[in-house]
């Protein structure tokens, strides 16, 4: 058995996982600048010393935590956009994907990552991978729609770049609680722009 006998240690691997999860949580709440080892430890229900025992250093925990975020992101993307769907429906799913999961909390994490990436090469690499993957997904959807004859687009690469950037910009507004972009309007704002970019009837994207 690997279960504790009384108050002893939980399985070390589980403990590690709890710490990484706690780190993600604290990161979302307080950002890079406000995240202390003690915060992570208390959120994980342990001592600061254990955190550094497992991960060596604060940066180490954060790196591990962000790696887990990366995995979750890829999973989300793969799950949410099934292969056997038409381009129009896929586009709709992408719009929802960008605006789901409580909105503000998650976008604030992306913003933190952006700012950190300005001065941290490792984070920069992470961001580029995530962003590239997202843009590729948009791009593939556009190409599919063009092939299907559903979309009209003379420059798919630029359109994908613009739609990806627009999502980021809208995410910023949502994260900051700007009244100009209520969270529930985000998806439709994005899809309306997509409709204009792809020569589509907006009703097709927004309707049921």
């Amino acid at each position: 058995m690997s279960t504790p006998t009384s108050l002893g240690a939980k399985a070390p691997a589980a403990r590690r996982q709890r710490i990484m999860d706690a780190a993600v949580q604290v990161l979302k709440d307080k950002g890079f600048a406000g995240t202390r080892v003690a915060d992570i430890a208390s959120a994980a229900g342990t001592s600061p010393a254990l955190v550094v025992y497992h991960f060596g250093t604060l940066d180490g925990v954060l790196a591990a935590a962000l790696a887990s975020v990366e995995d979750a992101f890829y999973d989300d993307l793969a799950e949410s956009v099934p292969q056997d769907t038409g381009a129009v429906q896929r586009l709709r799913l992408l719009g929802e994907l960008g605006s789901d999961t409580e909105g503000t909390r998650d976008w604030s994490l992306w913003m933190e990552i952006w700012v950190r990436a300005l001065r941290d090469d490792q984070i920069q690499e992470l961001r580029r991978a995530l962003d590239g993957r997202w843009r590729e997904t948009v791009r593939a959807t556009i190409d599919l729609g063009v092939t299907e004859g559903a979309f009209t687009c003379s420059d798919p690469a630029s359109a994908a770049t613009r739609l990806a950037a627009l999502m980021d910009g809208l995410g910023v507004q949502v994260a900051l609680g700007d009244p100009s972009v209520p969270a529930e309007r985000m998806a439709s704002l994005w899809l309306e722009c997509a409709a204009a970019e792809l020569g589509l009837d907006p009703a097709l994207l927004l309707g049921p």
Copy 2:
């Protein structure tokens, strides 16, 4: 005369200004998280004690520095978009305005402000004012174009929101040096989207 006799103090007001300018510079270079009183002092050519003598606290300097940034922003906006210009030309100027001034450095400052605004109400207020002003300018330009008959737009408010958000998103890519948005492509990417949003011939916006 207010000039120093030998090595004595420069006019205090000038010193204050130098410190605020230095603070903006350091903020752009190192971000909020990396900005130390000592950095500002040395960039301004003085001692940390003087910085705090004039502004009371680190947050005080930063607040003053950002206030000066706000003023500069309004001036830029007023200067760059003259009143006696057609909507098409104005749109072009807006596109250039968003992508000028060394690009990366300035957008990185906005990003810093966004992240700070997540947890600092005063910065939040500043950002909202700046962003609102920018969006209003876009909105006014769209309205003008519609009145002129140059633009076709069924929902100017949403279009303005989207175009403002797109600019932010493109700015992020530029600041992060993402190859998908080279700095020199930023304006054209934005204008192409504007053309699609406003039922305009892209050549009209992109041509000379």
